[in-house]
């Protein structure tokens, strides 16, 4: 018989305001095995932990139940406490009476009743707990970074500088990401390329970094410290070891109708292309959907003009398999499709552009060579209207509910740059709120207003339409003077919301990393573990976790790198002893368990068994406990109930259910 102590936490008023903690203590005192029960204001505090330790020693406890918050929050804390008092850490059970009870109930009677039931279930389980010993697993000292934008690059460089090899997988033909498309950056107005390209080169030349561009993660297996990843290196149809990046092929390619993604489709590119002049690697790629050779079998001009003989129409996708100890997700963002916001005429009028398109128009390497021009007639504009929060902070089906965070600052930047370079251009900005928290950010915005006389109008735009003179009419509202206003302008710029890249869902699924309703990756704790995914060994860097600007992205990328380095610096990881074990006498070798195992931990052996005096050789399941993660899928899949999970045995689970139903 166990000697069990029950410790009921108030969590300040988080639990105690809804659950009658005294009543819980009274109710559990007479449960089988319980010989001590007490409540305390903060069980996780030093004093609370001391209370537990003292009780273990004083009452000779063999198991404890802590009725508190989610085990995800403090299970580790209380296991450590028990261990310090000489108890096996796996003799600790948590009854979650906060997230599962006090936070979701209002009625004290109901909540108290439920808290007692949850405590009883945990007590019933501890009665059947047995001490478990954690094992060890080795750590593969290599990191994978998914995404080669500024977030991924910074994480990779920091990990590599600490001495660990890193592979970057980037789906497009070059690293650099969205930042490569930007012209200037706030609040210092230094040029994006000038600060980004050295980082791109540094990553490419770093002895510890391997770049896989035009590549995608195909499959992820394994667990923290031991991920097995399959990477698909898509065929470029250009031999990157031969290509010199001379760009003769890109100039001669006759298929020129398709849009140039790097310039937001404001101009066109050839079917064989290098995304931009500073691309890394500086190697051409053939877009098979546009290539005449792939469509008709003819052409082949690129092959003829390539003096290096790098064009290879026969190239095949390559697959690389590699082991990693840690994975950083840095998949970044994309601009919300604004075609659903046609009150602004984006799909109808070329002078209505998104802010990223304006970024390309302002960029010296962009479609207008950096001259601000209307896209409809290539004339100089005299008035520009910016509309903020397009698709952000809304509550309709086409909006994102969140603030995209970067738009206030880049709009102020655009406004200022335009007023600086073209003082004759009038700039108006419609805003809901101007949000500029950040070092030197508000000063930056005020400079736009006070020094550059940018006309900021608090209010939204309801309609944009083309006037007979070809200019655009903008109808909006000025909430400060409470009147409707009408402006005539040459260009309208939409500060479109940002959202996680499309592929992130797929990647999150492969990594079993959780995402929120907006497809942003969820952090392990919103305040205390902001760069880790709840999935061990997976780390978050950049906008894939939530909207952020470059300074914030770089900080987070560095933080993620530190976490990775902390993991890779360990030689061994403590493994979870709660692994599956088959009962050899009940196993009939049907393979049901092996089929559902996501970690490939189950194998089969031919083994002689002694079944009640009958000796025979049978095909039996065996579990590789180094690979088993204790997910329990096999225990429910086994038709004969032969598979059991240590720490969560079928008997223990049934005892919990019985206690709940009692």
């Amino acid at each position: 018989m166990q000697r069990i102590g029950v410790f009921v936490c108030w969590c300040g008023s988080n639990i105690a305001a809804t659950v009658d903690v005294d009543a819980v203590v009274e109710a559990v005192k007479n449960e089988p095995g319980v010989c001590f029960a007490k409540n305390y204001q903060y069980m996780c505090s030093e004093a609370g932990q001391a209370l537990i330790k003292d009780a273990i020693k004083e009452h000779n406890l063999t198991g404890i139940v802590v009725c508190s918050c989610s085990p995800r929050m403090h299970e580790a804390t209380f296991r450590k406490t028990a261990e310090q008092a000489g108890l096996n850490p796996y003799m600790v059970e948590i009854a979650n009476i906060r997230e599962h009870c006090s936070w979701i109930h209002k009625d004290m009677k109901e909540a108290t009743e439920k808290a007692v039931i949850l405590a009883r279930a945990a007590i019933a389980k501890v009665n059947l707990n047995a001490p478990l010993q954690a094992g060890e697993s080795a750590v593969t000292k290599r990191a994978l970074v998914i995404g080669g934008g500024i977030a991924g690059l910074q994480s990779a460089i920091d990990i590599a500088d600490a001495g660990y090899p890193v592979d970057i997988v980037e789906k497009s033909p070059t690293i650099g990401g969205k930042m490569a498309q930007l012209d200037k950056t706030f609040p210092t107005l230094d040029c994006a390329a000038c600060i980004l390209t050295p980082k791109m080169v540094e990553a490419a030349q770093h002895p510890n970094i391997t770049l896989y561009t035009y590549s995608e993660v195909e499959e992820v297996k394994g667990f923290v410290g031991n991920f097995n990843v399959k990477i698909k290196k898509k065929a470029r149809f250009v031999d990157s070891t031969k290509c010199t990046g001379c760009a003769v092929c890109t100039a001669k390619c006759p298929s020129r109708k398709g849009g140039n993604e790097f310039n937001c489709n404001l101009d066109t590119r050839g079917a064989v292309y290098i995304p931009f002049a500073q691309a890394v690697p500086n190697v051409a790629t053939i877009d098979t959907e546009r290539c005449i050779h792939f469509k008709t079998g003819k052409c082949g001009i690129c092959q003829k003009v390539c003096s290096a003989g790098a064009i290879d129409f026969e190239q095949k996708d390559e697959f690389i398999e590699e082991k990693y100890g840690a994975i950083v997700v840095a998949t970044g963002f994309e601009i919300l499709d604004v075609t659903k916001f046609d009150e602004f005429q984006y799909t109808k009028h070329p002078d209505v552009v998104t802010s990223l398109e304006l970024e390309r128009i302002m960029n010296a390497a962009g479609p207008t060579k950096g001259t601000l021009l209307r896209m409809s007639n290539k004339e100089h504009p005299h008035d520009i209207v910016f509309i903020q929060c397009v698709g952000s902070r809304g509550n309709t089906c086409r909006d994102k509910t969140y603030c995209s965070k970067i738009c206030c600052m880049y709009t102020a930047k655009h406004a200022m740059l335009i007023r600086e370079k073209y003082p004759d251009v009038n700039v108006h900005v419609f805003y809901i709120d101007v949000r500029t928290p950040g070092k030197n950010f508000d000063e930056f915005y005020r400079r736009a207003v006070e020094q550059y006389n940018v006309d900021y109008i608090k209010g939204m735009v309801g309609k944009v339409w083309e006037k007979e003179n070809g200019r655009l009419a903008v109808q909006g509202v000025d909430l400060i003077s409470n009147r409707r206003i009408m402006l005539e302008t040459d260009m309208v710029v939409l500060a479109a919301a940002i959202q996680p890249s499309k592929g992130v869902r797929n990647i999150a699924t492969m990594l079993t990393a959780s995402i929120d309703t907006n497809d942003f990756l969820t952090e392990a704790h919103p305040k205390l573990r902001p760069v880790e995914s709840p999935t061990a060994g997976v780390f978050l860097s950049g906008v894939c976790q939530g909207p952020k600007d470059i300074p914030e992205t770089v900080s987070q990328a560095g933080a993620a790198a530190v976490k990775v380095v902390g993991l890779l610096a360990k030689d061994k990881l403590v493994t979870n002893p709660c692994t599956a074990t088959p009962n050899e006498l009940m196993c009939n070798g049907c393979s049901s368990c092996a089929r559902v195992c996501p970690y490939g931990a189950i194998d089969y052996v031919e083994k002689e068994v002694n079944d009640h005096g009958k000796r025979e050789v049978r095909r039996l399941a065996t579990v590789n406990s180094a690979l088993c993660q204790g997910c329990g899928a096999c225990t429910v899949a086994c038709p004969s109930g032969a598979m059991d999970l240590k720490g969560f045995s079928n008997r223990q689970i049934m005892a919990e259910v019985d206690a709940i139903c009692r």
């Binding site: 659903k340 046609d342 005429q345 309709t396």
Partner: protein
């Protein structure tokens, strides 16, 4: 295809053309419209007061009658469609409203939004199909530049109406193409015409109507179509120098050779 049909008051008085051409065209298309017996006014305006049920009762009677016949309910007037569709949505999604309405009406069987409400245009698009209409056109309206005027009732609130993209609708333009004419896309096709203000502030109603007309003319429209009797009245009577404006059913009947 047999449907319950709710014409509405205006279609029996000022807007007879919308109804009569709609019926003729439907017959030609092989669509049977069975007018509901003893239908009552839809209520004309969807009540925005959250606790209001009295003005929703007549819509629910029509919806329940269609349910009894196990038919989708076809509407034609924009205002009727707006009111009936939204009341139906309330009956489906708002428990307290549904409960109070059912308690009051004491129908044989409680009504909880089971009927499908389709506007005539939706029926053309989703049930008959514009491609099929194109095949049945005997008198294509070739070369006619027609501006579709949506007004506000059909499109918004888009979450409830589920009619088309409220900022960039295409259904009426597709309809215009199906009958052989050329659609003219203009900025104010989905803006309010001001019709509701005509008694209160005629000058304002005129101003708003003029904007719609000017916008259509600017893009080269020669005539306009609408599904709303109030819009048609307002554009025609309060707008200056209005283009010829017809109910869409009239042009459909013309193209099908049954006008």
């Amino acid at each position: 295809m047999t449907y319950s049909y709710f014409p509405g008051c205006t279609l029996k008085t000022k807007g007879k053309d919308l109804d009569s051409y709609g019926r003729k065209a439907a017959e030609k298309l092989g669509v049977v419209l069975e007018e509901l017996e003893d239908w009552q006014c839809c209520g004309a305006v969807y009540p925005l007061a959250e606790d209001e049920i009295a003005t929703k009762l007549s819509s629910v009677r029509a919806l329940a009658a269609a349910k009894a016949k196990e038919q989708p309910l076809i509407t034609l007037c924009s205002a009727c469609h707006h009111v009936i569709k939204r009341v139906n949505n309330d009956m489906k999604t708002k428990e307290d409203i549904a409960l109070r309405v059912n308690n009051y009406l004491k129908l044989d069987e409680a009504y909880n939004g089971e009927t499908d409400v389709l506007h005539y245009l939706e029926m053309l698009r989703d049930k008959v199909g514009f491609d099929n209409i194109k095949k049945m056109v005997v008198n294509p309206l070739k070369g006619r530049k027609i501006a579709a005027y949506y007004g506000c009732m059909l499109l918004r609130p888009s979450k409830e109406m589920q009619f088309d993209d409220s900022e960039n609708p295409t259904i009426m333009e597709d309809f215009i193409r199906a009958i052989g004419a050329e659609p003219v896309i203009y900025a104010f096709r989905n803006e309010c015409c001001g019709g509701y203000m005509t008694v209160n502030d005629k000058a304002l109603a005129s101003k708003m109507a003029n904007k719609v007309i000017a916008s259509a003319k600017q893009m080269g429209a020669e005539e306009m179509i609408t599904a709303c009797p109030l819009c048609l009245y307002n554009l025609k009577e309060n707008g200056e120098d209005c283009l010829p404006i017809y109910y869409f059913t009239e042009l459909l009947a013309e193209a099908l050779g049954v006008k």
